[in-house]
Amino acid sequence: MRYNTFRYLFFFFLLVIAGCRKDDLMPPRETAPVRAMGDFIRNNYDLSLFAAAIQKAGLLDSLNQTGPFTCFAPDNKAFNDMGITRARDFDAMNPDSLRLLVSYHVFKDRKYISEFPLQMGNKYVTLAGAELYVSVANIANATHTPPENRNVFVNGAMVYDAPKRNVALSNGVVHVIRKPLGFKPVTIQDHLLADTSLSIFVTVMKRCKLWDGLKEKGPFTVFAPDNEAFRKYNISADSAARLDPEKYEAVAFNIYPLALKPKRIFSTDWTQIAGTYGPISSMINIGNFAIKPVYDYNSYNNTENVFIHMMDVVTGQPSTNGPSALGYRKGFVQGADHLMSNGLVHHIDDLLLDPATLRK
């Protein structure tokens, strides 16, 4: 009996002692510090070209400051599509314009994707001083999509889905985008003049009295075909200089600057608003024709389908006055969405309408 009591007591005390283990449940005080934006971009394999551009522009330290910043970072694929494959390729660029370009990708505030309102063209002033346009379309049932999963485009560049968006850092947030944002602080007129491959287009705009408008406030959207496109339709520099716009219907040439109506339409806007099945009235209507810029991204295969369709408003069918489909010159990444101080220019590889079919 006594023996048993001792035994019980022994086990009882054993239990008491064993039950009294005090775990230190406090986490260690030093967790791994969240990195600053500059360091994150520099150490990310997929953003190495963007990091090189930042380094070349001398902005890496600025992005390690307190901020907060929001950075739209083009990945290496984006730069590859521009023809930039190595860090060395940035050496050929003018350091001042590179600095401007890089700082155009950053604005001073911390904005996660869910904080962009359901609105096309939310404006944010970048470190370059110019505004960029973040678009979130209020399509049907958009309010049922969780805000952080919405389709967001910046100046026609797609923001990738998670985990390439909302990368939270100690001094801001990074969203990875499909292509570098193009911005030049000059007017559309100056941009067109500077590019010798657009000389026939410039002549045509001058002959049609649309040229002077392109230095006004705008904003304008211009589809600019290159000289080769004009030559395909037997319009040379020489014949363009003698072009008589009176002999053609107005739409034949004023379709390129969208009749100088104030519009700022990025290559992805129509698809973002209308999906890929929107009616003709939702497209860019000029005269009896409608321009349908399609940007179709397949997130499963990571492929994209980008082109411009020309529609005939009267018949509701693809246009027969010229090509029914055309592309951006040198591809979507290089050709589309060149933002200027008074609008934007899309470089295209074909004429929108064949002028010969639109003679009066």
Partner: protein
């Protein structure tokens, strides 16, 4: 003895804590205000940067140094597009966040029954001059003043409105011009509370509050859509009444088919248009208590046509604004009209409700039909009725 002291103490505590003084909100010299947001454009590539038609109404806002509202005496948040039918009883019992009108379900001091009209869908506001602001806000569930500063600056309307004491106002946010999409505010001082309306007639008046240039340049339909959704700036309206059977078949009420009411003219001047009427019990065989399942059809015709020589039918082609029909009727009763609308569950514009000892008793209402940019909206105002006895 001790017990008695303790009891007294307890009693004292009970008496002391039971005394709660409730301060009732009271507005001296109120005006009554109801607001509708008529902005209803779809975002297209043409107007893509136009502010979203999702608004916050601010009265007497307080602005900070940058001109961004930080507080307001009265705030009507989450003001979404208006609903087709503005019901005669308030939204106050529901808990939806997005509002189809102000006050909607906002917890405000509602209007009283004034001259026999139920103003519970109107909010009481202090009369006098007030600064009125409408701000386009992001579509989210965050209350306006908790939004980051940069999302509170898109002020689309900033004006001063003078409200007279004990008057009823209906305020609309409208599109002034179809091409520019300029927003505009329209404040109508309603007169129905002062008019000698009979309670055996149903009254209705008509407004066309479309944007200038809407008929000429507006696009409301693609080829696959319903015909006749646009009306010209000047139209005549005719009413027809019909009885609707349980099988949703309609029979016209004799003597009430295609009766001319008057003209509907597109205008933004805030003048009350004349009220037209039709009888509450048009069917002579009715028992004068419940009018029976019924529908009201309003036929809009351009002045070149009359109801008798109207060549248009809804299932034919587009009339290019010369003809359309609005039918207010029971649920599931569609018929083939361009604008079917469900108002009262049984009787359209006539409110049928349990009253006194009757399960279904019909009451006349005062209605306002507004046509705005390809859509019809109906506002029904109910008159005082006897509460039900169970």
């Amino acid at each position: 003895m001790n017990n008695r002291i303790i009891l007294l103490l307890l009693l004292w505590i009970t008496v002391g804590t039971a005394c709660r003084k409730t301060e009732y909100t009271n507005i001296e010299e109120p005006a009554y205000l109801r607001i509708f947001n008529n902005l209803d454009y779809n975002i297209t590539v043409d107007n893509k940067e136009a502010p979203q038609p999702f608004l916050t109404f601010l009265m007497d806002p307080e602005l900070d140094a940058d001109g961004i509202p930080v507080a307001a005496k009265t705030t009507g948040d989450f003001l979404d597009k208006r609903a087709a039918w503005a019901r005669p009883y308030p939204d106050a019992v529901n808990t939806t966040l997005f509002q189809t009108e102000y006050p909607g379900s906002a917890k405000v001091l509602a209007g009283p029954v004034l001259n026999g009209y139920d103003l519970s869908s109107w909010a009481q506001i202090p009369s006098g001059k007030h600064r009125v602001m409408f701000v386009s806000r992001p579509i989210s569930q965050v209350p306006f003043f908790q939004l980051p500063k940069d999302l509170r600056r898109q002020v689309i309307i900033d004006t001063v409105v003078d409200f007279a004491s004990r008057e009823v106002y209906t305020m609309h946010v409208l599109e002034k011009d179809w091409d520019t999409k300029t927003p505009d505010v329209y404040v109508r001082k309603e007169t129905f509370i002062h008019q000698p309306f009979s309670d055996s007639l149903v009254y209705v008046n008509f407004y066309n509050l479309s944007a200038a240039g809407f008929f000429e340049r507006g696009k409301v339909r693609s080829t696959a859509d319903i015909n006749n959704r646009k009306i010209r700036d000047t139209m005549n309206v005719y009413y027809s009444l019909s009885n609707v059977s349980e099988q949703n078949q309609q029979t016209p009420v004799a003597g009430h088919t295609g009766v001319l009411m008057g003209a509907v003219i597109r205008a933004h001047d805030p003048v009350v248009r004349p009220y037209y009427s039709f009888p509450l019990f048009p069917d002579t065989s009715a028992n004068k208590i419940y009018t029976g399942r019924g529908a009201q059809t309003f036929t809009f015709l351009s002045s070149a046509y009359t109801y008798e020589n109207n060549p248009f039918l809804q299932h034919m082609t587009e009339s290019n604004g010369r003809f359309t029909e609005l039918r207010v009727g029971p649920d599931k009763f569609t018929g083939f009209v361009a604008f079917p609308m469900v108002a009262d569950f049984l009787t359209g514009m006539v409110v049928t409700i349990r009253s006194g000892k009757y399960l279904n008793r019909s009451f006349a209402t005062v209605n306002t039909v507004e046509y705005v940019n390809g859509k019809f909206y109906l506002m029904t105002i109910q008159r005082k009725y006897e509460p039900p006895v169970y």
